[in-house]
Amino acid sequence: MKIENDIRILVIGYGNPGRRDDGLGAAFAERIQALELPGIAVDADYQLTVEDSASIAQCDIVLFADASVNGPEPFELTPVQMPPCVTTGFSTHGLSAGALLKLSSELFGFSPKAFQLAIRGYDFGDFGEQLSERAQGNLEAAVAHLTPLFQTGFRRFS
């Protein structure tokens, strides 16, 4: 399997795998990692933070994968736009995907094409390490849909 035109793709899955379906992003990253697709780097973390700006500045396409509480089923894939402005949170250390793009652009002079994958989850209330059955199904659908897109460098994404 070869990625068209040697495009560098970074997948960042984020969320808390200890809070049931909030771990969908990390689970997606794990699944993509296991596919061992050439040209695709995979990372996972609890949240997006400033140092991710350095990583995304070195790739052509970045896919941010997270869980969604009330988005469409089974998942939604949308382009990420840079926000016109970014404000500092009260105490959070995490950034939004759009803020990261902006930071990457300001600090490193480049921001890649970016997509947000929002996989619909259902159970966020409890501590627990397993995805709910429905969330697991949505994860499978996302992996099946995204795998060919990785191969074409998201050229067929519309």
Binding site: G15, N16, P17, G18, R19, D21, D22, L24, A26, D43, A44, D45, Y46, Q47, T49, V50, E51, S53, A54, D66, A67, S68, V69, N70, G71, C85, V86, T87, T88, G89, F90, S91, T92, H93, G94, L95, A99, K102, L103, E106, L107, F108, Q116, A118, G121, F124, D126, F127, G128
Partner: protein
Amino acid sequence: MSVLTRKITIDPITRVEGHGKVTILLDGQGRVSQARLHIVEFRGFERFVQGRPYWEIPVLVQRLCGICPVSHHLAAAKAMDGIVGVDKLTPTAEKIRRLMHYAQIFQSHALHFFYLASPDLLFGFDAEPTVRNVIGVAIKHPEMAVQGVTMRKFGQEIIKATAGKKIHGTGAVPGGVNKSLSKEERDLFLRDIDQMIAGCRSALRIAKNYTLDHLAELSEFGAFDSIHLSLVREDGAMDLYHGNLRAIGSGGQIIFDQVNYQTYFDLLSEEVKPWSYMKFPFISKLGSEAGWYRVGPLARINACDFIDTPEAEAARKEFKALTHGKPNHLTMAYHWARMIELLHAGERIKALLLDPDLQGDDLMAVGERREESVGMIEAPRGTLIHHYRVDRHDQVTMANLIVSTTHNNTPMNRAVTDVAKKFLSGTTITEGLLNRIEVAIRAYDPCLSCATHALGQMPLLVELRDGEGRLIDRKISE
């Protein structure tokens, strides 16, 4: 006399680590009587771990916090050392854990300073929020911003090398560690360490100069006398990985010292208040009114006798000179103290990287099984306590966790009240007041305990109560 109380609620104050709310209580004359920081702390974790085998706990507890999972990992591992009867780790195991911990301090302090604090310090409290943020710092001070990003990444890479993974690391296990550091990994970090320490010096300079340049203003901003509590080494040195408990009074007098933390429950109690989910710890013998205390960088710099790395020690002496050797009580001095610790962490990481014990292969110690143990560590935000009981089937039967932000609950409320009293004019919440409340809370770098953060969800609990505490309205926004 009956006093009518009106309420002004500021919301949303809600972000990834959890969510909070500030309520300002006015008296009948429209003056601030009290301001309350409400934090929804998730304590269900203590029940979640019950029934789990003890060796899983150091990995499981990392789910508690997205920003300092290593602190929970190590505090739990220290507790489980006690469960397996190990009081002394092998030199390699202890140094690997220390490297992991100081990297955690390094990345957390760097992130807080460059991402959350520096916009306030560089642009001022009244600057437009659209400018007073990390992008503003990137535009006006690009070198500093790149430095901050690089420092955070450096710390994270050391964590990855010592814990095995960036997320859900497994490096520390009951009785030791499961890997040492290769020479190749060491050399990679040694290549960059001097640049990292240079970054620490720059950040320290900014925090120090800011405090000194604004001393009059900061002396009237959330400043109040308090007790300071932290772990210190047996010789009184700052030690962020291990030590005994020390508490000093507002004038620097010792309240207790060199207390083995296995008996923390004899010293500390927690008070419950009806308006907050988070408890209010205090020193038992002093009572809740007089016994509350601060933890974290300011408390640690105030409480220790010295720092055993040269540049941080010189910085500590400068810090203490400002108050003629007495404790510093400025809330905003947390930033300066935090940057002294950042420099100390940089120096300590370098010393550890140069220690050949990190490449040793004696990773585990063994001992005689026990049923109860406490692990304690100085996490980036302050003293972190993990206390467990484990039955003969190796299952956890009791867990009690007191996290750093909980210790600082009363001080944060005091800081918010002080700021509200000084900056609320009439019954209108100005942008200036809002900014200052956030600045005061942010100085403590609170971690509001990991809630789910999934896309589209920003839960916020809003409660409205009258002067007699009756619930008038209750809403959860999503």
